[in-house]
C-alpha cells in the first residue's frame, strides 16, 4: 500500500519578525511527525522561491510594502486554505505603530536627524527596493483569509492544533487555553 500523498504547505513572513515561524518550530520533535504528513513548498525553510499549488498557506506579518502585496496575492492564488498567523497578520501588530505617523516624518528622522550618520548621506532610492505603503495593513483587507490564529506569537500548541485539524479534514477550532492575544 502506498502512503497517501502529502499535503503541501507554503509559509512566508511579510511585515513580521519571524516569531510566528519560530513558534511553528516550537512544536519541537513533533516536527518529524508533521514532516510525515506534509511537504513544505515555498518557505523560509526551503529554497523554493515561488509558491506552487498548495493545500495550506501560512502567513505571518502584515502588509507594509508593494512586494508584500504581490507575495500575498501569490499565496492566495495558489493556496486552498490561507491562514493569517499572529497579531501582525491579523491587525498589523507592532509595525503598524507607524500608522499614525507620516512616512516623510520618519524619513526625516532616519536620514536627517539620526545620530551617527556620515555627512552627505542620501535616502535610499533604487528600483530594487519595494515601495513602502503609507500604512501597514492586516492581510484580510487585501485578500480573503480562511482562518486566523491570534497571539504574538500564537503558541506552538495552537499552531499544532490548527494544522492537525486541517490535516484530519476538520474545521480548525482553537478552543479553551489556546486562544491568546498576548
Amino acid at each position: 500500500m502506498t502512503a497517501p500523498p502529502k499535503l503541501k504547505i507554503a509559509t512566508t513572513s511579510l511585515a513580521g519578525c519571524f516569531g510566528c515561524h519560530m513558534s511553528l518550530l516550537d512544536i519541537d520533535e513533533r516536527l518529524f511527525d508533521l514532516l510525515e504528513l506534509v511537504e513544505f513548498d515555498r518557505s523560509p525553510l526551503t529554497d523554493i522561491k515561488h509558491c506552487g499549488a498548495c493545500d495550506i498557506g501560512f502567513i505571518e506579518g502584515g502588509v507594509c510594502n508593494a512586494e508584500n502585496v504581490h507575495v500575498l496575492r501569490e499565496f492566495r492564488a495558489n493556496c486552498r486554505i490561507l491562514i493569517a498567523v499572529g497579531a501582525c497578520a491579523i491587525n498589523g501588530g507592532l509595525p503598524a505603530q507607524r500608522n499614525h505617523l507620516s512616512l516623510p516624518s520618519i524619513l526625516e528622522e532616519v536620514y536627517h536627524t539620526s545620530i551617527g550618520l556620515a555627512p552627505g548621506n542620501a535616502i535610499p532610492n533604487d528600483p530594487e527596493l519595494p515601495l513602502p505603503l503609507d500604512k501597514v495593513h492586516p492581510l484580510h483587507e487585501v485578500v480573503k483569509i480562511d482562518y486566523f490564529i491570534p497571539g504574538c506569537p500564537p503558541s506552538a500548541d495552537a499552531i499544532w492544533k490548527v494544522l492537525n485539524d486541517i490535516l484530519a479534514g476538520r474545521k480548525p477550532e482553537l478552543g479553551h487555553g489556546l486562544m491568546h492575544y498576548d
Binding site: 526551503t46 507594509c64 532616519v110 539620526s114
Partner: protein, 496 residues
C-alpha cells in the same frame, strides 16, 4: 577588495538575475546580479528590502515598555533586543550594578538564546548545504531532507534548540517575546522545580553540543580546500570582550583587530560607541553600512559574530570550548581565519560554550535568589550593548523627565556585517558565476556564503527609504486602501 563589482558603469545594458527572496535565512533580502552578454558579472549586491521605522515610533513611549516592545523587531533572537534595551534602561533607572540574581538570570536567558539560535541556524538552515552539497537537489536541500537522510543529526538539532527555548521560557516567562528582563533587573528568578528540570538535561545537551563541533570539523576535513577558501575576503573584526580578554556574550568592552590580528582598539566603553563608529547609507539598501571612523568607509568596515568573537578573545570561559578554541586557532597557524565557512566552526564552539555556561549557572544558588531589582539616580541617556548570536548589538536611548523616550538609535548585528556579506557575495559571484550559464545550484552558492553569517535581515530593517515608484493597494472590491507616490520635489506624498 571587490569595490568594482558594487556598481556597474552601464547597468542599462546588462541582464539582471535576482535571488529573491534569499531563503533559509531569517528576514527579507534579495541579491541582484547584473551580467553582460558573456555572462561576466558586472555588479552584485545584497539588498535589504524591508523597513520598520522603529526608531521613530518608539519615541513618546514610556521607557519601561521598550524592552518588551523592541523584541518584536526579531522573533529569532528576541532575547537579544529584550536584554540590550534593558541594559540601556538599567542606566536610565540608575541601576549601575544589578543584583547577582538579576545578572545571572539575564545571563542564563541570553545563553539559552545563543544555544537555540546557533542550533537553529546550523541544523535547520545551513546543514543541508554542508551535508548534501551546495548544488544538490533543491527538493531535498532543507531540514526535511536532513531528517530523512540523517535523522540522528536532525533530531539532535531540534532538541538542542528546544532546550535553549526552555531555558528562555523559564527565565523570560515565554519562549518567544517574554517579559523577564525589566529596567533595573528581572521580574522572576528560577524556582527549584524549574532549575531541577533544566539540570536534568544539561549534560546531554553538552554532549550533543560537543558532537556538533566534531561534525563541523569532520565536514571541514573532508574538503579543506573548499572550506578554507569559499567566498574568502580579509576584514577587520570587532566584538565585546569580557574582563581579562575572556569570551563573554553578555557584557564587556569593545575590542577590534585588523585582518592580521593586531589590536586596533581595546577596552573601549560602549557608552562611547559613537566615537568609534559611523554609518553610511547606500541608495540600494535599507540597511546602513557602519565602519570605524578612524579608518574611514573604505578601510574601516569590519566583521562581527562568532568568527570575530572566537578570534578576538584570549580565552573561552569554559574548558571544553577553550579546548576547541585552541584547536581552531592552531588550525589557522595563529593567524586569523577569514573564510566565511569558518563561521560555522566557531558558531558550534560557541554553542558548546553556551551549554557549559548554562550548566555553571544552573549550579549557582543565586539563580533561585529573590533580590531581583536595583535602582539609583535617574539618568537621561543610556547605551546597552550585548553580543547577540550574530554579533554586536547596540541600543541607545534618551528618555525625558516624563519617562518618555525621545531618541532611539539601533545598530543591529547584521548591519555591522553588511559590507562583509556584500564582499562575500561578490567573491562567490566572481569565482563561481563569472562567464557561466547561471543555474539554480550556482545561485545557491551565493546564498551559502550569505547564510554563513547567519544574517538576521528581519531585525536589520529599521530604516526607511524612498523609491522612484508609485504604488496603490486595492482591497478585494477595488477600493484604494493605501497609496503612495513620490512627488515632484522627491518627497513622499499620499496621492488623493
Amino acid at each position: 577588495m571587490s569595490d568594482q563589482l558594487e556598481t556597474a558603469s552601464h547597468p542599462e545594458k546588462l541582464r539582471r538575475v535576482a535571488i529573491d527572496p534569499v531563503s533559509r535565512v531569517e528576514g527579507h533580502g534579495k541579491v541582484t546580479l547584473l551580467l553582460d552578454e558573456n555572462n561576466h558579472v558586472r555588479q552584485a549586491r545584497l539588498h535589504i528590502v524591508e523597513f520598520r521605522g522603529f526608531e521613530k515610533f518608539v519615541q513618546g513611549r514610556p521607557y519601561w515598555e521598550v524592552p518588551v516592545m523592541v523584541q518584536r523587531l526579531c522573533g529569532i533572537c528576541p532575547v537579544s533586543h529584550h536584554i540590550a534595551a534593558s541594559k540601556a534602561m538599567d542606566l536610565i533607572v540608575g541601576a549601575k550594578q544589578l543584583t547577582p540574581t538579576a545578572e545571572k538570570i539575564r545571563r542564563l536567558m541570553h545563553y539559552g538564546q545563543i544555544l537555540q539560535s546557533h542550533a537553529l541556524h546550523f541544523f535547520h538552515l545551513c546543514s543541508p548545504d554542508l551535508l548534501f552539497g551546495f548544488d544538490s537537489d533543491i527538493s531535498r536541500r532543507n531540514i526535511a531532507g536532513v531528517a530523512e537522510k540523517y535523522p540522528d543529526t536532525a533530531r539532535k538539532g531540534v532538541l538542542l534548540r528546544k532546550f535553549g527555548q526552555e531555558v528562555i521560557r523559564h527565565t523570560a516567562g515565554k519562549r518567544i517575546h517574554g517579559t523577564g528582563s525589566v529596567p533595573g533587573g528581572v521580574n522572576k528568578s528560577l524556582t527549584m522545580a524549574e532549575r531541577n528540570e533544566l539540570r536534568q538535561d544539561i549534560d546531554q545537551i553538552i554532549d550533543w553540543s560537543h558532537d556538533a563541533v566534531q561534525l563541523v570539523k569532520e565536514l571541514h576535513s573532508q574538503n579543506p580546500a573548499l572550506y578554507d577558501s569559499f567566498g574568502i575576503f580579509r576584514a577587520n573584526m570587532m566584538s565585546l570582550v569580557g574582563d581579562n580578554g575572556v569570551h563573554d556574550l553578555y557584557h564587556g568592552s569593545l575590542r577590534g583587530r585588523d585582518a592580521d590580528g593586531s589590536i586596533l582598539f581595546d577596552g573601549v566603553d560602549y557608552q562611547n560607541y559613537g566615537v568609534l563608529l559611523e554609518e553610511e547609507v547606500k541608495s540600494w539598501s535599507y540597511m546602513k553600512f557602519p565602519y570605524l571612523k578612524s579608518l574611514g568607509n573604505k578601510q574601516g568596515w569590519y566583521r562581527v559574530g562568532p568568527l570575530s568573537r572566537v578570534q578576538n578573545c584570549d580565552t573561552m570561559p569554559t574548558p571544553l570550548a577553550e579546548h576547541e578554541r585552541r584547536e581552531f586557532v592552531a588550525y589557522g597557524g595563529n593567524l586569523p581565519l577569514h573564510a566565511p565557512l569558518a563561521y560555522h566552526w566557531t558558531r558550534m564552539i560557541e554553542l558548546l560554550s553556551a551549554a557549559e555556561t548554562i550548566k555553571e549557572l544552573l549550579h549557582d544558588d543565586d539563580i533561585t535568589g529573590n533580590e531581583l531589582m536595583a535602582g539609583g539616580e535617574r539618568a537621561r541617556e543610556g547605551v546597552g550593548v550585548i553580543e547577540a548570536p550574530r554579533g554586536t548589538l547596540i541600543h541607545h536611548y534618551r528618555v525625558d523627565d516624563n519617562d518618555l523616550v525621545t531618541m532611539c538609535n539601533l545598530i543591529v548585528s547584521t548591519t555591522h556585517n553588511n559590507q562583509a556579506m556584500n564582499e562575500a557575495v561578490r567573491q562567490v559571484a566572481r569565482r563561481y558565476l563569472n562567464g557561466r550559464e547561471v543555474s539554480e545550484g550556482l545561485l545557491n552558492h551565493i546564498e551559502v556564503a550569505i547564510r554563513a553569517f547567519d544574517p538576521c535581515l528581519s531585525c536589520a530593517t529599521h530604516a526607511l527609504g524612498k523609491m522612484p515608484l508609485e504604488v496603490e493597494l486595492l482591497d478585494a472590491t477595488g477600493h484604494t486602501l493605501s497609496a503612495l507616490a513620490r512627488s515632484a520635489d522627491g518627497g513622499f506624498c499620499t496621492p488623493d
